[in-house]
Symmetry: C2
Subunit: 269 residues, 2 copies
């Protein structure tokens, strides 16, 4: 029996959370599921994407995850509460962590948010922030193209800097003091984003916030912490092409992934 | 019984072929399948994407298509031959048409090609061109980011012009006289592409070539032509979200789609 930290996403973006775990909690073993065979969830009808997400969580719990991390803002938006209800283990998600991180650091209670179209349309950050501090005013903006620029590794180009600037320009008049990078791909554009919004704006990386909160949680829950598997035998599962996943992980996230297996869903044709 | 022209793609890109049909063959009724629920095929293992494509073709034939159009370069690359073998009706595909169109117009037998990463890696254009004219030398380059720029409708920006220029710069030293736009999204960047490669280069839009060839075919096969349904009751099926599809069709392709139904695959969960 292995008591691992389970992390999942519909694709490869969740690897940014993996990188933060490797950085802040390097002693623990993780199991990752990237449901790349059904990526992107965004084009699927709502009932399907909820089912997919519940299946993902269930798979990791069956594989003996003892902590569950939803490493995708969009999945959290439509399935976060449902997964929490169904899971008997602690569940962490990037939206809660991102919202919490922003609420702690903002001084003027004016917080910007960029994310995928789905995350922005879902209003999930607004909902979470309202629960934490109803005084905070959120300024959300979709920045779907940023995801593709990262996926294509088209980062160190003046055009990218300019595109980021164009998308973030409207934040200037909002007088925000904090900006949440509400998509796991966005930390890879941190330099460009900082340049666009100015240095005085705090950037919140929900993946980093999440792992720091998990670290605190483990400090306070030594019984759970003691049970967790230690070591480097991390396991990766993808429902799509394995080779593709390894190559993109290397190219985009500079992670060399060994031990990647193909997961075949029961109802796959 | 309706004898329609059947057109399919894994997503929305095939609508560029639909637009060409509306332009050059406006009297005929079409049936379109966008397998958006399983888009993109590119991340799926090969056996799955082949099966998906065969299912797509079969669905249209069962719906009484009398002509079949594979409106996607990538699908043609891995399933074109298999679909032809299994189908008893005439099959047209964008790669054959694009290759044929290029072979007719090139004077110096040096032809450039841009496409999705999958299309380029498949070498399908090389294979088809070799069959048509082994003298033609092909210069292929992946331009995946172009697809996303079109999907995000990020077109009329100087950055887009510059990105297109950067990707196409290497063609300058190849001395091509013809460039095939080997992805259904690319005609939407025609202006930028023309600017980047220069006016003397012929641009081949495979969707347009295909429909012109189909027109010629129908002129020469009056028995088939006579059977085809006339009218404006076009039918659209998508396996993903209907509303999403209609909105994107409107935004990207400026087509107002009525009569869009959701197709639920048997084995869908």
């Amino acid at each position: 029996m292995k008591n691992m930290i389970g992390i999942f996403d519909s694709g490869i973006g969740g690897l940014t959370v993996v990188k933060q775990v490797f950085k802040y909690l390097p002693e623990y073993e993780i199991i990752y599921l990237g449901d790349t065979g059904r990526f992107p969830y965004s084009t699927k009808p709502l009932e399907n994407k909820i089912n997919f997400s519940l299946q993902d969580a269930e798979f990791l719990i069956k594989q003996d995850a003892k902590i569950l991390i939803i490493a995708c803002n969009t999945i959290t938006s439509f399935a976060g509460q449902k997964i929490r209800k169904k899971s008997s283990i602690p569940v962490f998600d990037v939206v809660s962590s991102g919202a919490y991180g922003a609420s702690k650091i903002t001084k003027n209670n004016r917080v910007g948010l960029i994310g995928s179209r789905d995350t922005i349309n879902s209003d999930i950050y607004k909902l979470y922030l309202k629960n934490i501090n109803p005084e905070i005013k959120l300024f959300p903006r979709a920045a779907q193209l940023f995801i593709y620029l990262v996926e294509e590794n088209y980062i160190d180009y003046p055009e990218t800097t300019q595109i980021v600037k164009n998308y973030l320009e409207p934040f200037k008049k909002d007088n925000i003091d904090t900006l949440v990078l509400g998509c796991t791909h966005f930390p890879y554009l941190k330099k460009e984003i900082k340049k666009a919004v100015g240095k005085r704006i705090n950037l919140i990386d929900p993946a980093e916030e999440l792992v720091l909160q998990l670290k605190e949680y483990l400090n306070n829950h030594t019984k759970t912490e003691n049970k967790l598997a230690r070591g480097r035998n991390h396991k990766f599962f993808v429902s799509g092409d394995v080779d593709n996943f390894q190559k993109s992980a290397k190219k985009i996230f500079s992670i060399d992934l060994k031990n990647v297996s193909r997961l075949v869903w029961d109802n796959e044709n």
